[in-house]
């Protein structure tokens, strides 16, 4: 004697609806109690931009083809998303301990929601580029069409690493603290405030004067070699870092109005993102059976 009921929702629909609710909750809790609320998504990078621009384009001269604020912000916004996504996802299971201990659902969604909420903040913060590009007369080219693709690669990389961190942090709580330091180091090992050109002997501004054949030029060339040589190790670190290629792709597409020049690098970042997602998902699935006991 079963009473007729509406058709049951599919697993996909249930997970999708739950993810939406979790994202809403994450977005709301992020700015709870602050007067400006979501305005911080814009204000925070704006303040950083002013500080970095003052330091790196006035005091320390960083040479970029595009106007420095636009160049900086094109990759800094994406980096902010990446750093925020990792920080929040590391805490996504641990911070929801009461939920995980009492309600059975796809706990991966907690991490997906953390990353996605940060991504939505990022999309809002992209609005900052509009007045800036107008002010500096940066041409709006077709290269902007590739921005969603680069953003997607960044999202995937953040999600993959986020899943690893979320699962790992349940068992080793130090991860959260190590992460703070790691993110700072990682930031400086990514060409965001400076340009990847500094490790490239042909493009390093210190070598720009080596065009002639005079004795002075030869001397400058030797100096340039030693400068670039000092960057040798740094160069490999930068090349291995997938965020390098994501940052340069954003700088090319947004600030330089060209298609990404380092396509191989971007492909490498995309491949790493896929590996990270697969590894993160597998690890999470493997250890999540112990979450409720461990928390």
């Amino acid at each position: 004697m079963r009473v007729s009921r509406p058709a049951q929702p599919s697993a996909w629909e249930r997970n999708w609806e739950l993810l939406r609710e979790l994202i809403r909750r994450d977005l709301q809790s992020r700015h709870k109690g602050s007067t400006l609320g979501a305005g911080w998504s814009l204000l925070n990078p704006l303040l950083y931009m002013l500080v970095y621009t003052a330091v790196f384009s006035k005091f320390v001269r960083v040479h970029t083809v595009a106007p420095y604020p636009v160049y900086l912000l094109s990759a800094l916004l994406a980096w902010n998303f990446f750093a925020q996504a990792l920080t929040y996802s590391a805490n996504s299971v641990l911070g929801n301990a009461t939920l995980v201990k009492k309600v059975a659902f796809q706990w991966e969604l907690l991490t997906v929601s953390s990353v996605t909420a940060a991504f939505i903040n990022y999309l809002i913060s992209l609005l900052l580029l509009v007045p800036l590009m107008l002010y500096y007369h940066v041409p709006v080219g077709v290269s902007l069409l590739v921005v969603p693709l680069i953003a997607l690669i960044t999202y995937a990389l953040a999600l993959g690493i986020g899943l690893l961190l979320a699962a790992g942090n349940v068992y080793f709580r130090d991860i959260e603290y190590l992460l703070g330091i790691a993110i700072t180091v990682w930031f400086f090992m990514t060409p965001i405030i400076y340009s990847l050109d500094i490790v490239d002997p042909l493009r390093n501004p210190a070598c720009q004067a080596t065009g002639g054949v005079s004795a002075a030029a030869a001397q400058a060339s030797a100096g340039c070699k030693s400068v670039v040589h000092g960057f040798h190790l740094l160069k490999y670190v930068l090349y291995v870092n997938p965020m390098t290629w994501i940052a340069t792709a954003f700088q090319d597409a947004i600030a330089n109005s060209t298609w990404p020049t380092h396509r191989l690098g971007l492909g490498y970042a995309a491949a790493l993102a896929v590996v990270a997602i697969v590894a993160g998902y597998l690890l999470f699935r493997r250890v999540k059976g112990g979450f409720a006991e461990e928390l």
């Binding site: 249930r14 909750r25 995980v100 009492k102």
Partner: protein, 258 residues
């Protein structure tokens, strides 16, 4: 072997590690390589049973007998060491009322969030929203943040959501004792009606009257094992007899000492 039972539990075993000194930082773990010394504690030992569609199973037993661990294994919160759990249909486990509530949210928003956590999309909740609010008796407060709610209001809302999401299989852990007398009676009526409508339920309770009233069958757990499984009336009687017997036995030395 195919079975058309709503819930099938086969040789379920669940153990916990009781750490003598728990290492939860990376340094401690690396220093000791293994994660400290521990003892395995068997919370559920080789438990098998079935619950047919539309049946109601009560689970009774002393504190620490493995009732809640069993429920958590069935709901999927714990991963069992061995054995299997098969559930046919949509399952909702109510292990704690308002477990998924977000304090900053209003009652209204929490209904949708909690519904989603329990597996019910927004459009379904829209249909039962008014009934949930009415059942909880929170018409005046539904747009206030739940952090301003009293613990009674909190529990009432949690329960109201739980019973209106209408799952195929409902797991209830000791939550029928919330709110005042009249609210408890309404909860009980609602659960009874769900049973009449053919929902399957597994109820852990210390209220033996409720178990006898609501359940067709009953499982008596003792130290992680099934002590008895049968018609609710009989198992409850056996359990009561045993408890009285052991209480009487325990009472003797106390009297002797005084």
């Amino acid at each position: 072997m195919t079975t058309d039972a709503a819930v099938t539990v086969r040789s379920l075993t669940k153990s916990f590690r009781i750490y003598h000194e728990k290492n939860s930082t990376l340094k401690q773990t690396l220093m000791r390589r293994r994660r400290g010394s521990y003892e395995a504690f068997l919370a559920v030992k080789d438990v098998s049973f079935e619950v047919g569609h539309g049946a109601a199973l009560g689970i009774i037993g002393r504190n620490g007998s493995g009732k809640s661990s069993l429920l958590k294994c069935i709901s999927g919160i714990y991963r069992p060491d061995a054995g299997s759990v098969t559930v046919n249909g949509r399952l909702a486990a109510l292990l704690e009322l308002g477990a998924g509530f977000f304090n900053e949210y209003s009652g209204r928003e929490n209904i949708y969030l909690n519904g989603a956590l329990l597996g019910l999309p927004r459009r379904y909740i829209d249909e039962v929203f008014d009934q949930i609010v009415e059942f909880a008796g929170l018409e005046r407060f539904i747009d206030n943040a739940v952090k301003t709610y009293s613990s009674g209001m909190f529990a009432r809302l949690g329960f109201a959501i739980a019973v209106y999401i209408d799952p195929d299989v409902l797991l209830i852990d000791e939550i029928l004792a919330v709110g005042d007398e009249s609210f408890q009676r309404r909860c009980f009526e609602r659960i009874r009606r769900m049973k009449e409508e053919g929902r399957t339920m597994i109820v852990v309770s210390h209220s033996l009257e409720q178990i006898k009233d609501l359940c067709t069958d009953c499982l008596w757990m003792e130290q992680g094992e099934i002590r008895a499984h049968g018609p609710a009336d009989e198992v409850v009687e056996q359990y009561l007899a045993e408890v009285e017997h052991s209480d009487a036995a325990r009472a003797v030395p106390v009297q002797a000492a005084s």
